[in-house]
């Protein structure tokens, strides 16, 4: 049944193609601004590349979060989802999975070419991508919990980044660190640990928030 929910989310995303592509285009545009702003020198750009890719991916992943539950909350579909026989936790997990498929995965695929455009040292690229895989999953999980929490709040759109960005700081630290050292193993393991922590906790928090929002 969670698969049916994810299928529904992908179907909605397909109909609203522009909304779906917005996060990816935002990522491409922001990362393209850096060579223009700091100059094309490979030494400077290559040093900045992992951080630029990570910060841009983090901000891009925030963009679709407000509508993740917001659209369903406003038109009454959230009640239908909560009454579909799925537990609130499963609804939240399905939504987080859809967010990753629609935002995290495209960012992950675009990150490689963008990092090369930013003259990343070729040896560092595998570690960057290996860190982005658990990293984007963490961002989808943390983001969905934040999106569920601000549901129904006034100025939720402003509250959401203030809530999610601090929680994403550990992911950012270990994610960039993995691409800036010759021994990325420790950082990748720490990212995996963060993912193992977020995987049960975030859907739990998001599910409880959804039930509270529906009251």
């Amino acid at each position: 049944m969670v698969i049916a929910l994810i299928g529904r989310e992908l179907g909605i995303a397909l109909v609203h193609g522009a909304d779906t592509l917005a996060a990816l285009l935002f990522f491409l545009v922001v990362t393209s601004l850096f060579p223009l702003a700091v100059g094309p020198s490979p030494a400077v750009l290559g040093r900045l590349a992992p951080g630029v890719v990570w910060v841009a991916a983090l901000l891009a992943a925030l963009l679709p979060l407000e509508r993740l539950f917001g659209a369903d909350y406003e038109d009454g579909s959230l009640d239908q989802l909560l009454l579909s026989g799925l537990s609130p936790l499963a609804v939240a997990a399905g939504k987080a999975a859809a967010h990753w498929l629609l935002t995290g995965l495209p960012l992950l695929l675009a990150a490689g070419p963008i990092a090369i455009m930013l003259r990343i040292e070729p040896g560092r690229l595998p570690a960057l991508l290996a860190a982005l895989l658990p990293g984007t999953l963490c961002l989808s999980l943390i983001g969905s919990a934040g999106a569920a929490l601000v549901l129904g709040a006034r100025r939720g759109a402003i509250l959401l980044p203030l809530l999610v960005l601090p929680l994403a700081v550990p992911v950012l630290i270990f994610g960039t660190a993995a691409a800036e050292t010759d021994q990325p193993r420790a950082d990748l393991l720490l990212l995996a640990a963060l993912l193992a922590l977020a995987l049960p906790l975030c859907p739990l928090a998001a599910g409880a928030s959804l039930s509270a929002a529906a009251e």
């Binding site: 049944m1 049916a4 929910l5 299928g7 529904r8 179907g11 909605i12 109909v15 609203h16 038109d75 009454g76 579909s77 009640d79 239908q80 909560l82 009454l83 579909s84 026989g85 799925l86 537990s87 039930s211 529906a214 009251e215």
Partner: protein, 197 residues
């Protein structure tokens, strides 16, 4: 089948209603009436398990109904005052998720509310009454025994209200239970009545 015992609801700091008790046997219906703000929608959300009662119990075949909300959810089909349809989807696409969960036939549900001709039209082109009919088509998909309807006839013309009436009658004949709230008339036939406010 469904038994409410001393239900009460508080929203914010305000007591919406208290001491609501009723019993519905298979085939029976309850028409909830009352002015705007009397708590009709609140009562339906409470019966659906979306809202926890401040006091009282809800029993389904003698067992506590709200202890396991996902299990209770499978027993009910809830049509809120919002239509819960996506404007970018066609009528048929809007029903796909509900159909996958219940295993019902989309074509049959569309036919039950006379929407076959509109099946492939995006819902943003629908009128308010057509959207309402699409929301009600979920009932025809559902195999759930308990139907909870919040202002089901809002925006419906007489023909559509009569179709809804036939749908409700068929559901009750097969042993289902209906709880419907409205400040207007309902195409329910013989029904128990609960007046709020």
């Amino acid at each position: 089948m469904l038994q409410a015992d001393g239900l009460a609801a508080i929203r914010g700091d305000r007591l919406i209603f208290r001491d609501i008790s009723f019993t519905l046997a298979p085939g029976e219906a309850l028409a909830v009436r009352g002015p705007n703000g009397a708590g009709k929608s609140t009562l339906l959300r409470l019966l659906a398990g979306l809202l926890r009662p401040a006091a009282g119990k809800l029993l389904w075949q003698g067992e506590d109904a709200l202890g396991d909300p996902p299990r209770h959810a499978r027993r009910i089909a809830y049509i809120g005052h919002q239509d819960a349809v996506k404007p970018g989807f066609t009528a048929a696409e809007n029903l796909r998720f509900a159909a996958r969960l219940s295993g019902g036939s989309i074509a049959g549900a569309l036919a039950a509310l006379d929407l076959v001709a509109l099946a492939d039209l995006p819902v943003r082109l629908f009128s308010a009454g057509q959207k309402r009919r699409l929301a009600l088509a979920r009932l025809a998909l559902s195999a759930a025994p308990l139907w909870l309807l919040d202002e089901p006839t809002n925006g419906l013309d007489e023909t559509a209200a009569a179709r809804l009436g036939r749908l409700l009658a068929a559901h009750r004949t097969s042993g289902g239970v209906v709880v419907a709230a409205s400040h207007l008339g309902l195409p329910l036939g013989r029904a128990n009545e609960l007046v709020l406010g």
